[in-house]
């Protein structure tokens, strides 16, 4: 019972609404409860991870800094679709945190293996 794992899906670009921040906060909270957490950056969600964002120009906190803290919370299962990277003409090195690049079949498996999914 206690070992339920949770998949959180990020689908929104930076500076869009509070869903990225809200989803990240769920990740940090659930890790404190020893819930194994995985993160999937889907579609526009991958834009959240582009290296070199200067949020200070908009007088906003840089959520990317907090994404970088995930490893300190033992959250290291981060996934990005290879096809989403291609769509935005990105390569893995453009992302500021290490993610596993997966294909659509692997993504479907990831969803199947997850016990709970939150997709804000």
């Amino acid at each position: 019972m206690a070992n339920k794992n949770l998949l959180l899906i990020f689908r929104n670009p930076p500076f869009s609404d509070s869903s990225n921040r809200d989803t990240l906060d769920i990740a940090l909270a659930c890790s404190a409860f020893e819930i194994p957490v995985s993160l999937l950056f889907l579609g526009d969600g991958v834009l959240q991870l582009i290296r070199g964002q200067q949020s200070k120009t908009l007088q906003q906190k840089n959520l990317l800094n907090t994404f970088n803290a995930l490893a300190m919370y033992d959250i290291d299962q981060l996934f990005v679709l290879q096809s989403d990277l291609q769509r935005f003409e990105l390569i893995a090195a453009d992302l500021s945190i290490d993610c596993q690049l997966i294909c659509e079949t692997q993504m479907a498996k990831l969803i199947r293996q997850s016990d709970r999914i939150i997709n804000l």
Partner: protein
């Protein structure tokens, strides 16, 4: 079956809360349990005593309270989301030195730990959002 619900919607756009409320009534009437309803994000803005619902419209916040009263629902409002949107209970009102508390009685401010607990303690987690 034990359910928990995560509500992530604005009362002014879409019908997510109405759907969640109908789902809850139906689940309870079938003998299922609802461990917790967790209000998160923009949803929390409307759980305020300062909100005025026109007389010829339904006040969905009242409907949650009615269901909570008849079926002992645990209605939890995310404290970080609430404070940021100006929805305060007496404790937060005092802490931040504000003029008045406005959280609707019957809802409780608490942290995301309550969502984590709901995930661990329930057979199903349903998200209703817009």
């Amino acid at each position: 079956m034990i359910f928990s619900l995560l509500i992530y919607a604005s009362q002014n756009s879409g019908q997510a809360e109405q759907t969640a409320l109908r789902f809850s009534r139906s689940a309870l009437s079938q003998g299922h349990k609802i461990h917790r309803v967790f209000f998160y994000g923009e949803t929390v803005s409307a759980i305020s005593n300062l909100k005025i619902t026109p007389r010829d419209e339904i006040d969905i916040t009242r409907q949650w309270l009615e269901l909570a009263a008849s079926d002992n629902l645990d209605l939890v409002v995310c404290i970080a989301a609430a404070v940021r949107r100006g929805v305060l209970d007496q404790q937060e009102c005092d802490r931040h030195n504000r003029v008045a508390a406005n959280l609707v009685a019957g809802f409780n401010l608490s942290g995301l730990g309550q969502l984590a607990d709901a995930i661990l303690s329930s057979d199903r987690l349903l998200t209703f959002g817009n």
